[in-house]
Subunit: 294 residues, 2 copies
Amino acid sequence: MKPDTPSGLQAQHPAAPFPAPFPVHLVGAGPGDPELLTLKAVKALRQATLALVDDLVHPGVLKFLRRSARVVHVGKRGGCASTPQAFIERLMVAEALRGERVVRLKGGDPYVFGRGGEEADALRAAGVPVVVVSGLTAGLAGPAALGLPVTDRRHTRGVVLVTGHTGEDGADEPDWPALARCGLTLVVYMGVARLAHIVACLQAGGLPSHTPAAVVCSAHTPQQRQALCTLGALCATVQREGLASPAIVVVGDVVQASPHWAVAGAPFSASAAGACGASAPGAARELLHALGRA
Amino acid sequence: MKPDTPSGLQAQHPAAPFPAPFPVHLVGAGPGDPELLTLKAVKALRQATLALVDDLVHPGVLKFLRRSARVVHVGKRGGCASTPQAFIERLMVAEALRGERVVRLKGGDPYVFGRGGEEADALRAAGVPVVVVSGLTAGLAGPAALGLPVTDRRHTRGVVLVTGHTGEDGADEPDWPALARCGLTLVVYMGVARLAHIVACLQAGGLPSHTPAAVVCSAHTPQQRQALCTLGALCATVQREGLASPAIVVVGDVVQASPHWAVAGAPFSASAAGACGASAPGAARELLHALGRA
Protein backbone atom coordinates (compact mmCIF):
# COMPACT_ATOMS: atom_id res chain seq x y z
CA MET A 1 0.00 0.00 0.00
CA LYS A 2 1.47 3.26 -1.06
CA PRO A 3 1.29 6.26 1.17
CA ASP A 4 -1.63 8.34 -0.02
CA THR A 5 -0.85 11.66 1.60
CA PRO A 6 1.97 14.06 1.00
CA SER A 7 3.32 13.18 4.43
CA GLY A 8 4.47 9.91 2.95
CA LEU A 9 6.99 11.66 0.72
CA GLN A 10 9.92 9.43 1.58
CA ALA A 11 8.07 6.25 0.66
CA GLN A 12 10.15 5.05 -2.24
CA HIS A 13 13.87 5.31 -1.69
CA PRO A 14 15.45 3.90 -4.86
CA ALA A 15 18.76 3.11 -3.14
CA ALA A 16 17.17 1.26 -0.20
CA PRO A 17 19.00 -2.06 0.36
CA PHE A 18 15.84 -3.80 1.67
CA PRO A 19 12.20 -3.86 0.56
CA ALA A 20 10.58 -0.50 1.27
CA PRO A 21 8.68 -0.66 4.57
CA PHE A 22 4.93 -0.23 4.59
CA PRO A 23 3.93 3.25 5.68
CA VAL A 24 3.13 3.58 9.36
CA HIS A 25 -0.39 4.94 9.72
CA LEU A 26 -0.87 7.48 12.51
CA VAL A 27 -4.59 7.05 13.02
CA GLY A 28 -6.93 9.24 15.01
CA ALA A 29 -9.47 7.10 16.85
CA GLY A 30 -11.70 10.07 17.64
CA PRO A 31 -13.16 10.97 21.02
CA GLY A 32 -14.79 7.69 22.10
CA ASP A 33 -17.70 6.06 20.26
CA PRO A 34 -16.17 3.72 17.64
CA GLU A 35 -18.79 4.96 15.15
CA LEU A 36 -16.90 8.25 15.11
CA LEU A 37 -13.97 6.59 13.34
CA THR A 38 -13.49 7.55 9.71
CA LEU A 39 -13.79 5.00 6.91
CA LYS A 40 -10.11 5.60 6.19
CA ALA A 41 -9.20 4.75 9.77
CA VAL A 42 -11.20 1.52 9.59
CA LYS A 43 -9.41 0.62 6.34
CA ALA A 44 -6.02 1.20 7.96
CA LEU A 45 -7.00 -0.93 10.96
CA ARG A 46 -8.15 -3.78 8.72
CA GLN A 47 -4.81 -3.86 6.95
CA ALA A 48 -2.64 -3.62 10.07
CA THR A 49 -0.59 -6.47 11.46
CA LEU A 50 0.44 -4.50 14.54
CA ALA A 51 -1.41 -1.79 16.47
CA LEU A 52 0.29 0.43 19.02
CA VAL A 53 -2.56 1.79 21.09
CA ASP A 54 -2.86 4.77 23.43
CA ASP A 55 -4.80 4.71 26.72
CA LEU A 56 -7.54 7.02 25.52
CA VAL A 57 -8.56 4.86 22.57
CA HIS A 58 -12.00 3.29 23.10
CA PRO A 59 -11.59 -0.53 23.30
CA GLY A 60 -14.40 -0.95 20.78
CA VAL A 61 -12.16 0.56 18.12
CA LEU A 62 -9.95 -2.53 18.23
CA LYS A 63 -12.74 -4.70 16.83
CA PHE A 64 -11.83 -3.40 13.38
CA LEU A 65 -8.41 -5.08 13.55
CA ARG A 66 -7.82 -8.50 12.04
CA ARG A 67 -7.85 -11.33 14.58
CA SER A 68 -4.24 -12.05 13.76
CA ALA A 69 -3.08 -8.48 14.44
CA ARG A 70 -0.91 -7.90 17.49
CA VAL A 71 -1.98 -5.17 19.90
CA VAL A 72 0.49 -3.32 22.11
CA HIS A 73 -0.85 -0.83 24.63
CA VAL A 74 1.52 2.10 25.03
CA GLY A 75 -0.60 4.48 27.09
CA LYS A 76 0.72 7.73 28.44
CA ARG A 77 -1.73 9.44 30.78
CA GLY A 78 -0.86 12.91 32.05
CA GLY A 79 1.09 12.65 35.27
CA CYS A 80 1.15 8.83 35.37
CA ALA A 81 3.94 6.40 34.74
CA SER A 82 3.70 5.48 31.09
CA THR A 83 5.65 4.18 28.14
CA PRO A 84 8.40 6.68 27.28
CA GLN A 85 7.83 8.50 24.00
CA ALA A 86 11.29 7.53 22.70
CA PHE A 87 10.50 3.84 23.28
CA ILE A 88 7.26 4.10 21.30
CA GLU A 89 9.08 5.78 18.44
CA ARG A 90 11.85 3.16 18.39
CA LEU A 91 9.28 0.36 18.48
CA MET A 92 7.32 1.83 15.55
CA VAL A 93 10.46 2.20 13.48
CA ALA A 94 11.80 -1.27 14.30
CA GLU A 95 8.51 -3.03 13.56
CA ALA A 96 7.99 -1.12 10.31
CA LEU A 97 11.50 -2.01 9.17
CA ARG A 98 10.78 -5.67 10.03
CA GLY A 99 7.96 -5.53 7.50
CA GLU A 100 4.98 -5.10 9.83
CA ARG A 101 2.02 -3.00 8.75
CA VAL A 102 1.94 -0.71 11.77
CA VAL A 103 -1.02 1.37 12.89
CA ARG A 104 -0.39 3.87 15.66
CA LEU A 105 -3.80 4.44 17.24
CA LYS A 106 -4.29 7.65 19.16
CA GLY A 107 -7.33 9.11 20.88
CA GLY A 108 -8.75 12.11 19.03
CA ASP A 109 -6.53 13.44 16.22
CA PRO A 110 -2.83 12.52 16.02
CA TYR A 111 -1.95 16.07 15.01
CA VAL A 112 -3.91 17.88 17.75
CA PHE A 113 -2.11 17.45 21.10
CA GLY A 114 -1.25 13.94 20.01
CA ARG A 115 2.54 14.03 19.55
CA GLY A 116 1.89 12.88 15.99
CA GLY A 117 4.35 15.46 14.65
CA GLU A 118 7.15 14.03 16.75
CA GLU A 119 6.34 10.46 15.78
CA ALA A 120 6.12 11.34 12.10
CA ASP A 121 9.54 13.01 12.32
CA ALA A 122 11.07 9.97 14.00
CA LEU A 123 9.65 7.69 11.32
CA ARG A 124 10.77 9.86 8.42
CA ALA A 125 14.25 10.19 9.93
CA ALA A 126 14.47 6.40 9.87
CA GLY A 127 13.30 6.22 6.28
CA VAL A 128 9.84 4.92 7.17
CA PRO A 129 6.97 6.57 5.28
CA VAL A 130 4.07 8.01 7.22
CA VAL A 131 0.38 8.36 6.50
CA VAL A 132 -1.71 10.50 8.81
CA VAL A 133 -5.40 9.71 9.18
CA SER A 134 -7.04 12.60 10.99
CA GLY A 135 -9.59 11.84 13.68
CA LEU A 136 -12.25 13.87 15.45
CA THR A 137 -10.57 15.78 18.23
CA ALA A 138 -12.25 15.81 21.65
CA GLY A 139 -12.01 19.58 21.85
CA LEU A 140 -14.54 19.97 19.04
CA ALA A 141 -16.52 16.71 19.15
CA GLY A 142 -16.76 16.74 22.97
CA PRO A 143 -18.64 20.05 23.09
CA ALA A 144 -20.81 18.83 20.19
CA ALA A 145 -21.95 15.99 22.47
CA LEU A 146 -23.49 18.75 24.60
CA GLY A 147 -25.14 20.34 21.55
CA LEU A 148 -22.51 23.05 21.91
CA PRO A 149 -21.16 24.59 18.69
CA VAL A 150 -17.69 25.93 19.53
CA THR A 151 -18.14 28.62 16.90
CA ASP A 152 -21.41 30.41 16.25
CA ARG A 153 -21.46 33.76 14.48
CA ARG A 154 -24.02 35.04 16.99
CA HIS A 155 -21.41 34.68 19.75
CA THR A 156 -17.84 34.48 18.48
CA ARG A 157 -15.54 34.54 15.45
CA GLY A 158 -13.57 31.47 16.36
CA VAL A 159 -12.19 29.03 18.88
CA VAL A 160 -8.87 28.48 20.65
CA LEU A 161 -7.73 24.92 21.32
CA VAL A 162 -5.07 24.97 24.02
CA THR A 163 -3.51 22.51 26.45
CA GLY A 164 -3.66 23.04 30.20
CA HIS A 165 -0.81 20.59 30.69
CA THR A 166 2.62 22.16 30.96
CA GLY A 167 6.17 20.91 31.22
CA GLU A 168 7.69 20.46 34.66
CA ASP A 169 9.12 23.97 34.81
CA GLY A 170 5.89 25.62 33.66
CA ALA A 171 7.90 27.59 31.10
CA ASP A 172 5.51 26.61 28.35
CA GLU A 173 2.42 27.98 30.11
CA PRO A 174 -0.04 29.49 27.62
CA ASP A 175 -0.61 33.23 27.93
CA TRP A 176 -4.00 32.84 29.67
CA PRO A 177 -4.63 36.57 30.17
CA ALA A 178 -4.05 37.17 26.44
CA LEU A 179 -6.42 34.32 25.60
CA ALA A 180 -8.98 35.78 28.01
CA ARG A 181 -8.97 38.98 25.97
CA CYS A 182 -9.14 37.49 22.45
CA GLY A 183 -12.95 37.20 22.40
CA LEU A 184 -12.94 33.62 21.11
CA THR A 185 -14.31 30.44 22.63
CA LEU A 186 -11.61 28.76 24.75
CA VAL A 187 -11.34 24.99 24.69
CA VAL A 188 -8.84 23.60 27.18
CA TYR A 189 -7.52 20.06 26.89
CA MET A 190 -6.02 18.38 29.97
CA GLY A 191 -7.08 21.34 32.08
CA VAL A 192 -8.89 19.74 35.00
CA ALA A 193 -5.78 19.00 37.09
CA ARG A 194 -4.80 22.68 37.05
CA LEU A 195 -8.28 24.15 36.80
CA ALA A 196 -8.06 26.55 39.76
CA HIS A 197 -4.88 28.09 38.33
CA ILE A 198 -6.31 28.39 34.81
CA VAL A 199 -9.59 29.93 35.98
CA ALA A 200 -7.71 32.43 38.15
CA CYS A 201 -5.50 33.42 35.19
CA LEU A 202 -8.53 33.86 32.90
CA GLN A 203 -10.29 36.00 35.49
CA ALA A 204 -7.13 38.04 36.04
CA GLY A 205 -7.09 38.53 32.27
CA GLY A 206 -10.52 40.09 32.44
CA LEU A 207 -13.03 37.29 31.85
CA PRO A 208 -16.03 38.01 34.10
CA SER A 209 -16.96 35.32 36.60
CA HIS A 210 -20.41 35.06 34.97
CA THR A 211 -18.86 33.88 31.67
CA PRO A 212 -20.59 30.61 30.69
CA ALA A 213 -18.42 27.50 30.97
CA ALA A 214 -18.76 23.77 30.49
CA VAL A 215 -16.84 20.60 31.30
CA VAL A 216 -17.39 17.33 29.47
CA CYS A 217 -15.66 14.15 30.61
CA SER A 218 -15.32 10.95 28.57
CA ALA A 219 -17.38 12.47 25.77
CA HIS A 220 -19.11 10.05 23.40
CA THR A 221 -18.75 7.12 25.80
CA PRO A 222 -21.31 5.55 28.16
CA GLN A 223 -19.33 7.22 30.95
CA GLN A 224 -19.89 10.73 29.59
CA ARG A 225 -20.60 13.33 32.26
CA GLN A 226 -20.85 17.07 31.98
CA ALA A 227 -21.45 20.25 33.87
CA LEU A 228 -22.48 23.67 32.62
CA CYS A 229 -22.09 26.65 34.87
CA THR A 230 -20.34 29.99 35.16
CA LEU A 231 -16.57 30.43 35.10
CA GLY A 232 -16.73 31.58 38.72
CA ALA A 233 -18.47 28.38 39.78
CA LEU A 234 -16.43 26.03 37.62
CA CYS A 235 -13.92 24.74 40.17
CA ALA A 236 -16.49 24.12 42.88
CA THR A 237 -18.74 22.30 40.42
CA VAL A 238 -15.99 20.09 39.06
CA GLN A 239 -14.97 19.17 42.61
CA ARG A 240 -18.52 18.60 43.85
CA GLU A 241 -19.44 16.43 40.86
CA GLY A 242 -16.15 14.56 40.92
CA LEU A 243 -15.48 15.35 37.26
CA ALA A 244 -12.05 14.11 36.26
CA SER A 245 -9.87 13.65 33.20
CA PRO A 246 -10.12 12.89 30.36
CA ALA A 247 -12.04 16.13 30.19
CA ILE A 248 -12.52 19.15 27.98
CA VAL A 249 -13.21 22.58 29.43
CA VAL A 250 -15.08 25.16 27.33
CA VAL A 251 -15.26 28.83 28.30
CA GLY A 252 -17.20 31.48 26.40
CA ASP A 253 -20.60 32.93 25.62
CA VAL A 254 -21.26 30.18 23.09
CA VAL A 255 -21.83 27.72 25.96
CA GLN A 256 -25.29 29.31 26.24
CA ALA A 257 -26.10 27.81 22.83
CA SER A 258 -26.12 24.33 24.35
CA PRO A 259 -29.63 23.04 25.13
CA HIS A 260 -28.11 21.83 28.41
CA TRP A 261 -27.64 25.45 29.42
CA ALA A 262 -31.40 25.90 29.68
CA VAL A 263 -31.76 22.52 31.37
CA ALA A 264 -29.22 23.56 33.97
CA GLY A 265 -31.58 26.23 35.27
CA ALA A 266 -31.16 29.96 34.97
CA PRO A 267 -27.51 30.30 35.85
CA PHE A 268 -27.29 34.07 35.87
CA SER A 269 -30.21 34.49 38.21
CA ALA A 270 -28.90 32.00 40.75
CA SER A 271 -25.96 32.48 43.06
CA ALA A 272 -22.62 31.92 41.37
CA ALA A 273 -21.76 28.88 43.44
CA GLY A 274 -25.08 27.23 42.79
CA ALA A 275 -25.46 28.21 39.16
CA CYS A 276 -24.65 24.80 37.81
CA GLY A 277 -26.04 21.69 36.32
CA ALA A 278 -24.28 18.37 36.00
CA SER A 279 -25.68 15.24 34.47
CA ALA A 280 -24.85 11.80 33.23
CA PRO A 281 -26.10 10.93 29.72
CA GLY A 282 -29.85 10.55 29.81
CA ALA A 283 -30.18 12.47 33.05
CA ALA A 284 -30.87 15.70 31.19
CA ARG A 285 -33.82 14.12 29.42
CA GLU A 286 -35.11 12.75 32.72
CA LEU A 287 -34.76 16.22 34.16
CA LEU A 288 -36.78 17.65 31.28
CA HIS A 289 -39.51 15.07 31.89
CA ALA A 290 -39.57 15.95 35.57
CA LEU A 291 -39.95 19.59 34.61
CA GLY A 292 -42.88 18.71 32.36
CA ARG A 293 -41.03 19.94 29.29
CA ALA A 294 -40.73 16.63 27.47
CA MET B 1 -34.51 6.12 15.24
CA LYS B 2 -34.19 7.95 18.49
CA PRO B 3 -31.82 10.84 18.82
CA ASP B 4 -28.65 9.52 20.36
CA THR B 5 -27.05 12.72 21.56
CA PRO B 6 -28.13 15.12 24.24
CA SER B 7 -28.87 17.67 21.52
CA GLY B 8 -31.95 15.68 20.68
CA LEU B 9 -33.57 16.51 24.01
CA GLN B 10 -36.94 17.56 22.62
CA ALA B 11 -37.46 14.31 20.74
CA GLN B 12 -40.51 12.93 22.46
CA HIS B 13 -43.16 15.50 23.15
CA PRO B 14 -45.99 13.58 24.83
CA ALA B 15 -48.63 16.16 23.86
CA ALA B 16 -47.65 16.32 20.16
CA PRO B 17 -50.77 15.98 17.98
CA PHE B 18 -48.88 14.15 15.20
CA PRO B 19 -46.28 11.37 15.13
CA ALA B 20 -42.98 12.64 16.47
CA PRO B 21 -40.73 13.65 13.58
CA PHE B 22 -37.50 11.78 12.96
CA PRO B 23 -34.49 13.72 14.22
CA VAL B 24 -32.78 15.85 11.62
CA HIS B 25 -29.14 14.82 11.41
CA LEU B 26 -26.66 17.67 10.96
CA VAL B 27 -23.82 15.70 9.42
CA GLY B 28 -20.25 16.81 8.87
CA ALA B 29 -18.99 15.51 5.53
CA GLY B 30 -15.37 16.31 6.38
CA PRO B 31 -12.89 18.17 4.18
CA GLY B 32 -13.17 16.30 0.87
CA ASP B 33 -12.19 12.64 0.42
CA PRO B 34 -15.37 10.59 1.12
CA GLU B 35 -13.18 8.13 3.09
CA LEU B 36 -12.87 10.82 5.73
CA LEU B 37 -16.54 10.46 6.62
CA THR B 38 -17.27 8.83 9.96
CA LEU B 39 -19.13 5.55 10.23
CA LYS B 40 -21.89 7.43 12.03
CA ALA B 41 -22.23 9.84 9.11
CA VAL B 42 -22.49 6.95 6.67
CA LYS B 43 -25.18 5.36 8.82
CA ALA B 44 -27.17 8.61 8.86
CA LEU B 45 -26.85 8.94 5.07
CA ARG B 46 -28.06 5.38 4.54
CA GLN B 47 -31.20 6.06 6.56
CA ALA B 48 -32.03 9.43 5.01
CA THR B 49 -34.92 10.02 2.63
CA LEU B 50 -33.89 13.62 1.96
CA ALA B 51 -30.43 15.23 1.92
CA LEU B 52 -29.93 19.00 1.96
CA VAL B 53 -26.40 19.44 0.68
CA ASP B 54 -23.93 22.33 0.88
CA ASP B 55 -21.63 23.37 -1.98
CA LEU B 56 -18.46 22.24 -0.27
CA VAL B 57 -19.57 18.64 0.18
CA HIS B 58 -17.60 16.26 -2.06
CA PRO B 59 -20.00 14.68 -4.60
CA GLY B 60 -18.60 11.23 -3.75
CA VAL B 61 -20.18 11.51 -0.32
CA LEU B 62 -23.64 11.25 -1.87
CA LYS B 63 -22.99 7.66 -2.98
CA PHE B 64 -23.82 6.58 0.57
CA LEU B 65 -27.43 7.74 0.16
CA ARG B 66 -30.16 5.31 -0.87
CA ARG B 67 -31.10 5.51 -4.54
CA SER B 68 -34.57 6.65 -3.55
CA ALA B 69 -33.32 9.55 -1.43
CA ARG B 70 -33.98 13.07 -2.70
CA VAL B 71 -31.03 15.45 -2.89
CA VAL B 72 -31.43 19.21 -2.67
CA HIS B 73 -28.35 21.40 -3.17
CA VAL B 74 -28.50 24.47 -0.95
CA GLY B 75 -25.00 25.87 -1.36
CA LYS B 76 -23.90 29.13 0.14
CA ARG B 77 -20.47 30.20 -1.02
CA GLY B 78 -18.92 33.29 0.57
CA GLY B 79 -19.82 36.35 -1.49
CA CYS B 80 -21.97 34.46 -4.04
CA ALA B 81 -25.70 34.36 -4.50
CA SER B 82 -26.90 31.38 -2.52
CA THR B 83 -29.90 29.87 -0.81
CA PRO B 84 -30.88 32.11 2.11
CA GLN B 85 -30.20 30.56 5.50
CA ALA B 86 -33.80 31.16 6.64
CA PHE B 87 -35.09 29.22 3.62
CA ILE B 88 -32.87 26.24 4.43
CA GLU B 89 -34.07 26.25 8.01
CA ARG B 90 -37.74 26.43 7.00
CA LEU B 91 -37.24 23.62 4.48
CA MET B 92 -35.58 21.35 7.06
CA VAL B 93 -38.37 21.94 9.54
CA ALA B 94 -41.16 21.45 6.99
CA GLU B 95 -39.70 18.24 5.58
CA ALA B 96 -39.02 16.80 9.03
CA LEU B 97 -42.59 17.56 10.11
CA ARG B 98 -43.85 15.85 6.91
CA GLY B 99 -42.15 12.68 8.13
CA GLU B 100 -38.98 12.77 6.03
CA ARG B 101 -35.71 11.48 7.46
CA VAL B 102 -33.64 14.57 6.79
CA VAL B 103 -29.86 14.71 6.65
CA ARG B 104 -28.29 18.16 6.45
CA LEU B 105 -24.88 17.57 4.89
CA LYS B 106 -22.23 20.19 5.49
CA GLY B 107 -18.60 20.37 4.48
CA GLY B 108 -16.25 19.91 7.44
CA ASP B 109 -17.93 19.98 10.85
CA PRO B 110 -21.44 21.45 11.28
CA TYR B 111 -20.39 23.09 14.56
CA VAL B 112 -17.16 24.71 13.30
CA PHE B 113 -18.03 27.70 11.06
CA GLY B 114 -20.95 25.67 9.75
CA ARG B 115 -23.99 27.54 11.07
CA GLY B 116 -24.98 24.25 12.70
CA GLY B 117 -25.83 26.05 15.92
CA GLU B 118 -28.34 28.27 14.17
CA GLU B 119 -29.91 25.36 12.32
CA ALA B 120 -30.16 23.28 15.49
CA ASP B 121 -31.88 26.17 17.25
CA ALA B 122 -34.39 26.58 14.41
CA LEU B 123 -35.19 22.86 14.49
CA ARG B 124 -35.57 22.71 18.26
CA ALA B 125 -37.77 25.80 18.23
CA ALA B 126 -40.10 23.95 15.83
CA GLY B 127 -40.13 20.85 18.01
CA VAL B 128 -37.89 18.85 15.69
CA PRO B 129 -35.18 16.83 17.42
CA VAL B 130 -31.57 17.24 16.28
CA VAL B 131 -28.62 14.88 16.14
CA VAL B 132 -25.20 16.34 15.39
CA VAL B 133 -22.63 14.11 13.72
CA SER B 134 -19.28 15.85 13.92
CA GLY B 135 -17.02 15.79 10.89
CA LEU B 136 -13.34 16.50 10.31
CA THR B 137 -12.94 20.24 9.98
CA ALA B 138 -10.76 21.55 7.14
CA GLY B 139 -8.80 23.74 9.53
CA LEU B 140 -7.25 20.68 11.18
CA ALA B 141 -7.48 17.99 8.48
CA GLY B 142 -6.34 20.37 5.72
CA PRO B 143 -2.97 21.10 7.33
CA ALA B 144 -2.63 17.36 8.10
CA ALA B 145 -2.75 16.77 4.32
CA LEU B 146 0.52 18.72 4.23
CA GLY B 147 1.99 16.63 7.05
CA LEU B 148 1.49 19.70 9.20
CA PRO B 149 0.49 19.13 12.85
CA VAL B 150 -1.33 22.29 13.98
CA THR B 151 -0.10 21.69 17.50
CA ASP B 152 3.35 20.36 18.35
CA ARG B 153 4.81 20.87 21.80
CA ARG B 154 8.17 21.75 20.23
CA HIS B 155 6.57 24.83 18.64
CA THR B 156 3.32 25.87 20.29
CA ARG B 157 0.79 25.20 23.06
CA GLY B 158 -2.27 25.34 20.88
CA VAL B 159 -4.11 26.51 17.81
CA VAL B 160 -6.62 29.24 16.98
CA LEU B 161 -9.36 28.50 14.45
CA VAL B 162 -10.78 31.78 13.19
CA THR B 163 -12.79 32.98 10.22
CA GLY B 164 -11.48 35.61 7.84
CA HIS B 165 -14.99 36.27 6.57
CA THR B 166 -16.77 39.17 8.25
CA GLY B 167 -20.21 40.68 8.08
CA GLU B 168 -20.84 43.58 5.70
CA ASP B 169 -19.98 46.27 8.22
CA GLY B 170 -16.77 44.55 9.35
CA ALA B 171 -17.93 44.98 12.94
CA ASP B 172 -17.23 41.35 13.71
CA GLU B 173 -13.57 41.47 12.61
CA PRO B 174 -11.39 39.23 14.79
CA ASP B 175 -8.78 41.03 16.88
CA TRP B 176 -5.89 40.08 14.56
CA PRO B 177 -3.18 41.96 16.49
CA ALA B 178 -4.20 40.15 19.69
CA LEU B 179 -4.11 36.82 17.86
CA ALA B 180 -0.68 37.72 16.47
CA ARG B 181 0.60 38.02 20.04
CA CYS B 182 -0.94 34.86 21.52
CA GLY B 183 1.91 32.55 20.46
CA LEU B 184 -0.41 29.90 19.04
CA THR B 185 -0.75 28.50 15.53
CA LEU B 186 -3.30 30.54 13.57
CA VAL B 187 -5.64 28.72 11.20
CA VAL B 188 -7.79 31.06 9.12
CA TYR B 189 -10.88 29.79 7.33
CA MET B 190 -12.25 31.77 4.38
CA GLY B 191 -9.26 34.08 4.56
CA VAL B 192 -7.99 34.17 0.97
CA ALA B 193 -10.36 36.88 -0.26
CA ARG B 194 -9.12 39.28 2.43
CA LEU B 195 -5.59 37.93 2.74
CA ALA B 196 -3.72 41.21 2.24
CA HIS B 197 -5.72 42.84 5.03
CA ILE B 198 -5.27 39.89 7.40
CA VAL B 199 -1.53 39.62 6.79
CA ALA B 200 -1.11 43.37 7.32
CA CYS B 201 -3.02 43.15 10.62
CA LEU B 202 -0.94 40.20 11.81
CA GLN B 203 2.29 42.01 10.94
CA ALA B 204 1.04 45.17 12.64
CA GLY B 205 0.37 42.97 15.67
CA GLY B 206 4.01 41.96 15.75
CA LEU B 207 4.30 38.76 13.74
CA PRO B 208 7.64 38.91 11.86
CA SER B 209 7.49 38.67 8.09
CA HIS B 210 9.68 35.54 8.25
CA THR B 211 6.99 33.65 10.20
CA PRO B 212 6.30 30.38 8.35
CA ALA B 213 2.93 30.18 6.63
CA ALA B 214 0.99 27.77 4.45
CA VAL B 215 -2.10 27.76 2.27
CA VAL B 216 -3.93 24.60 1.29
CA CYS B 217 -6.81 24.68 -1.19
CA SER B 218 -9.36 21.89 -1.76
CA ALA B 219 -7.55 19.68 0.75
CA HIS B 220 -8.09 15.94 0.45
CA THR B 221 -9.43 16.21 -3.11
CA PRO B 222 -7.70 15.54 -6.45
CA GLN B 223 -7.68 19.34 -6.88
CA GLN B 224 -5.60 19.90 -3.74
CA ARG B 225 -2.95 22.58 -4.11
CA GLN B 226 -0.72 24.18 -1.51
CA ALA B 227 1.99 26.71 -0.92
CA LEU B 228 4.41 27.06 1.96
CA CYS B 229 6.32 30.28 2.41
CA THR B 230 6.84 33.15 4.80
CA LEU B 231 4.09 35.42 6.05
CA GLY B 232 5.73 38.30 4.18
CA ALA B 233 5.59 36.39 0.90
CA LEU B 234 2.14 34.91 1.39
CA CYS B 235 0.03 37.32 -0.67
CA ALA B 236 2.39 37.35 -3.64
CA THR B 237 2.58 33.56 -3.62
CA VAL B 238 -1.17 33.07 -3.43
CA GLN B 239 -1.63 35.49 -6.31
CA ARG B 240 1.16 34.03 -8.44
CA GLU B 241 -0.03 30.46 -7.95
CA GLY B 242 -3.68 31.38 -8.41
CA LEU B 243 -4.65 29.75 -5.12
CA ALA B 244 -8.32 30.36 -4.38
CA SER B 245 -11.04 29.34 -1.98
CA PRO B 246 -11.97 26.95 -0.52
CA ALA B 247 -8.66 27.43 1.28
CA ILE B 248 -7.16 27.25 4.74
CA VAL B 249 -4.33 29.57 5.77
CA VAL B 250 -1.93 28.47 8.52
CA VAL B 251 0.50 30.88 10.20
CA GLY B 252 3.05 29.88 12.81
CA ASP B 253 6.37 28.22 13.50
CA VAL B 254 4.75 24.79 13.35
CA VAL B 255 4.53 25.11 9.55
CA GLN B 256 8.22 24.17 9.57
CA ALA B 257 7.21 20.73 10.82
CA SER B 258 5.66 19.94 7.42
CA PRO B 259 7.91 17.84 5.17
CA HIS B 260 6.84 20.22 2.41
CA TRP B 261 8.72 23.01 4.17
CA ALA B 262 12.02 21.32 3.37
CA VAL B 263 10.83 20.53 -0.14
CA ALA B 264 10.02 24.18 -0.68
CA GLY B 265 13.68 25.07 -0.42
CA ALA B 266 15.37 26.98 2.38
CA PRO B 267 12.85 29.77 2.83
CA PHE B 268 14.76 31.78 5.39
CA SER B 269 17.90 31.94 3.28
CA ALA B 270 16.10 33.11 0.15
CA SER B 271 14.63 36.52 -0.45
CA ALA B 272 11.26 37.03 1.21
CA ALA B 273 9.39 37.34 -2.08
CA GLY B 274 10.94 34.18 -3.49
CA ALA B 275 10.89 32.12 -0.33
CA CYS B 276 8.04 29.93 -1.43
CA GLY B 277 7.09 26.59 -2.79
CA ALA B 278 3.77 25.65 -4.29
CA SER B 279 2.77 22.29 -5.62
CA ALA B 280 -0.11 20.22 -6.84
CA PRO B 281 -0.47 16.76 -5.25
CA GLY B 282 2.30 14.53 -6.48
CA ALA B 283 4.46 17.44 -7.58
CA ALA B 284 6.29 17.48 -4.28
CA ARG B 285 7.33 13.87 -4.73
CA GLU B 286 8.48 14.58 -8.29
CA LEU B 287 10.47 17.47 -6.94
CA LEU B 288 12.09 15.20 -4.37
CA HIS B 289 12.99 12.73 -7.12
CA ALA B 290 14.51 15.54 -9.18
CA LEU B 291 16.55 16.55 -6.14
CA GLY B 292 17.79 12.97 -5.75
CA ARG B 293 16.18 12.67 -2.33
CA ALA B 294 13.68 9.97 -3.20
